[in-house]
Amino acid sequence: MAGLKIDQVHKYYGETRALAGVTFHVAQGEIVAVLGPSGCGKSTLLEIIAGLEKPTRGDVLWDQVSLSGVPPFKRNFGLMFQDFALFPHRNAYENVAFGLLMAHRSQKYILERVIEMLELVGLPGFGQRDVNTLSGGEQQRVALARALAPDPRLLMLDEPLGSLDRNLRERLVMDLSKILHRMQQTAIYVTHDQEEAFAVADRVVVMNAGRVEQIGTPQQIYLHPASTFVARFLGLSNLLRGEIRQRDGRRVVKTGVGILPVDSQAEGDVTVLIRPDAVQLNGKGACQLEGIVSETSFRGNTCRAVITVNDIDLRFDFPSQVHLPQVGEAVRLGFDPQEALQVFPSPESRSEET
């Protein structure tokens, strides 16, 4: 299998476990996002792939060949740092040219390549600018050009948009995705922001506490989270404790909000997710719930309502066009259990909290 393979990588700092058997691969030309909360080990993973840290156990391979013992500067990988780590004593041109200088490319090639890269990232003519005077977005682009210039076989991006403000981030994430796909760049994109991950990546690796929770396409991950952690991390917070039962020959789950029909092979104690966006007001659907509106907030393209059912708060998102009931009003919710419910076999002990 061509490309990068991460094989059972463990990393301990003294007694502290940073990574516990991480395994996944990145195919040639594929963009994989590593998604997880801060402290989940994703930056450590990048450092190990880059060769800046050694794994305690496990191996990193490229095209089936182990990279252990290969120093960072011989791996031909690119790494774009969080906050960019541009060289402050070199101008934009010299920053982009650095990797090419180290590779002893000819002056002519370097000149052409740097100009090409600066154009690619949308900064033509910025070569002589002092990097300290560039704006955050411009620095990000110089950092990208610098990482791409030596034509690395793998590009790693560590929270590349993390330090930028929201508007800039939304614009740059599309540019970034376009550039990476156009160059057919094999890339690992580390982020804690699901929207960034979904926008850029072909596949997403969700990490938690040094382990891989789920690997899949953005759609697979969002529509079928593999664990309560993934669901909660994606903002799917309506998680209820439940117990699977047989009733009239059909499988149902008994929860705090009532008995719901499910389509699951699980037995015993389970956790049930009610997707916040798959529910209608005023009861259309095979399944019904009654509750009282206890909070509403307008969020632009959606409206969020907290609806209390049997003393349990559930959060739902409705299209903005829908006429929302007032706080205190009773409502009847309707949904299709196939679409709106998902059952996780693990018992969820803290279903009331989010």
């Binding site: 880059a50 060769g51 500067f73 011989k74 060289f87 180290m102 411009e138 990482a147």
Partner: protein
């Protein structure tokens, strides 16, 4: 019409009645408060810095018949003066290079690694820098001198009759003492800067294909360069103007400009030549100081500095631990053993029994007891304990004078809008993408006043760039005749010490005074603090600590000052360093022991003072 006008503008009426006094008052009102604050410090500098230096210049020009430059050309034509100048330069270059050689690896270790006992090592390696030259000279004497530990040990081990190591009066002694002295500068200046450089710079270089050597050459060293250059320049300045070390450890064979000025003044009474040499020296040091100020300003250029916790790692492999341990041991041996040897030697008595090797007689307090006894019974000879009393008197006077003059100057500096461009840390806080020009909406007037402030600030720092011996010579030639005849005044020495301590006092007070913004007082008042409580809970805690730091600086500087004091102290009123110098240059085990005892006392007091400063000083990185 005049009635209501008078009621509305009572001052206007007074103006009409007493025009002369009101004009004076309005002149005073127009005069900024800072001008009044500057009055005393500027008069002080004028009388005790510029007037003496002017007198030196005047004397150096008295012999000039063939133009103003003639005395300087004559001096530089003399082979002996040329060799002094040449020696001054090359020993300073050599000392600086050696200091870098020792300091840079240490700076790397302290900057990049976190380990147990690091703050202790930092503190220990900081001690030599603040030690008076006389203590340093005595310490190396106690370790490697003819009566030092090393020689005594070798003599008793191999039954030798004469000390085998010839350390004192050698070039090696000078170089070692200079490295001992100034390694701290490299450790602190380069190390602190290094510890804030983002380690991801080096990682980024490696990811772009640079090996370790290329990373150091193209990334780490260029980023560090301003810090290394500034530290080197400062070390060079100190080595260039080295006095006590050369005088005592170098012996008569070696003379820097500073020592030559001293000899010409004290032994040969050739004041015109001493003055010429002083002017040459002054030109060099001022030039170097300007260069240093420029360089250290470049240190504050925007570089993405990171908090230390992101830049340091643990010593996690055995090879690293071994190398680090070796480096720390080397640093401690170099920087701590001489001082330790001094202290222990001052409590130890050896007896040379006949022609044999010296034998350890055990622990003794004899040297300390002898401090109180005047064995010579000469008029000019005073007991060492008298010297301690004299030094203390001078030190307290210096503290008083330095605070009296430094406080208004610091206050005036603090009132002015900060003339500096945003420093590294602040620059990073300016949101990315914002127009850098918009951060400084400085009008023309404010810019002018900032320029004036910058000029005055530089003026206050001038004594720092002037060698102590030059200051002493200036006092001798300027203040021994009317209009200012201070030869017999007990204030002569404290005035010189105040001049040396003044920049330090101003530098410690200004940041603290600047930190008290009106907002703080307002905030306290809004929360219900009465003016008295504001003074007690806001102003005093902030300024009080800075005052303590400034006072301690003045105190320890006065106690240890040797260069100027050696020239101007009257023989019957020696300070502790002068007494040490006299004792150590006289033969006899007892004199030697007393010198060590006095040095030990001075060392302990200085170390305690500096410890207090470290403890109480408000974080003001980059002020020195």
């Amino acid at each position: 019409m005049s009635e209501p006008t008078r009621q509305l503008h009572p001052q206007g009426t007074q103006e009409r009645n007493r025009p002369s006094s009101s004009r004076l008052r309005s002149w005073f009102q127009k005069l900024p408060v800072s001008a009044l604050l500057w009055l005393a410090p500027l008069i002080f500098l004028g009388l005790f810095y510029f007037y003496p230096l002017g007198s030196i210049l005047g004397i150096s020009l008295t012999r000039s018949q063939a133009g103003l430059l003639d005395p300087f050309i004559q001096a530089l034509k003399s082979a002996s003066i040329r060799s002094v100048l040449w020696f001054t330069i090359w020993q300073a270059i050599l000392s600086t290079l050696l200091t870098l050689l020792v300091g840079l690896p240490g700076a790397f270790l302290l900057a990049r690694y976190e380990f147990r006992g690091k703050s202790l090592i930092r503190a220990l390696t900081g001690i030599p820098f603040v030690m008076p030259t006389l203590v340093v000279a005595a310490a190396f004497n106690a370790l490697l001198g003819p009566r030092g530990w090393a020689n005594l040990g070798l003599m008793s081990l191999f039954n030798l009759e004469s000390p085998p190591i010839q350390f004192t009066n050698s070039l090696v002694a000078i170089l070692v003492a200079h490295v001992f002295y100034n390694t701290t500068i490299v450790l602190r200046m380069v190390g602190d800067f290094w510890s804030h450089i983002d380690p991801r710079m080096a990682q980024a270089a490696q990811m772009l294909g640079a090996n370790r050597w290329q990373t150091a050459r193209y990334v780490t060293l260029p980023i560090l360069a301003p810090a290394i250059a500034a530290a080197s320049l400062l070390v060079f300045i100190f080595d260039f103007t080295s006095f006590g070390v050369i005088l005592i450890l170098g012996g008569p064979r070696f003379a820097t400009l500073e020592v030559e000025i001293y000899y010409q003044t004290i032994s040969l009474f050739n004041l015109p030549l001493a003055a010429v040499l002083s002017i040459i020296q002054l030109a060099c040091t001022l030039g170097l100081t300007v260069a240093y100020t420029r360089l250290s300003a470049r240190l504050s250029r925007p570089i993405s500095l990171r908090p230390q916790r992101y830049t340091q790692r643990l010593l996690d492999t055995w090879p690293r631990k071994v190398v680090a341990a070796a480096m720390i041991t080397f640093l401690l041996v170099l920087m701590v053993t001489p001082l330790l040897g001094l202290a222990v030697r001052s409590f130890t008595r050896f007896e040379t029994a006949g022609a044999g090797s010296p034998a350890l007689q055990g622990v003794t307090l004899d040297y300390y007891r002898e401090l109180n006894i005047n064995r010579r019974e000469s008029l000019f000879y005073v007991t060492p304990s008298t010297a301690v009393a004299i030094s203390l008197g001078y030190a307290f006077t210096t503290v008083f004078l330095a605070l009296l003059l430094g406080l208004p100057a610091a206050w005036a500096l603090a009132r002015a809008p900060s003339p500096e461009a945003p420093r590294a840390g602040e620059a990073a806080l300016v949101p990315a993408g914002s127009n850098p020009d918009s951060a400084h909406p400085a009008g023309g007037g404010r810019r002018t006043s900032a320029k004036i402030m910058q000029g005055l600030d530089a003026l206050l720092m001038l004594p720092l760039g002037t060698s102590a011996v030059t200051l002493g010579l200036g006092f001798i030639v300027a203040l021994d005749r009317p209009p200012l005849d201070l030869r017999a005044s007990p204030f002569l020495v404290p005035l010189a010490h105040t001049l040396v301590a003044f920049p330090f006092v101003v530098r410690s007070l200004t940041p603290a005074l600047r930190s008290i913004r009106p907002r703080l007082r307002q905030a306290a008042a809004v929360m219900g603090a009465s003016p008295g409580q504001v003074l007690r809970h806001v102003d005093l805690p902030l300024v009080g600590r800075a005052l303590l730091v400034a006072a301690t600086f003045a105190f320890t500087i006065s106690l240890g000052e040797f260069g100027a004091t050696a020239l101007i102290a009257r023989p019957e009123y020696p300070t502790v360093p002068v007494a040490i110098y006299r004792l150590i240059s006289q033969p006899g085990a007892l004199n030697y022991g007393q010198a060590l005892a006095l040095s030990t006392i001075l060392m302990v007091v200085t170390a305690a003072g500096m410890l207090a400063i470290e403890r109480f000083r408000i974080a003001d990185v980059g002020e020195f």
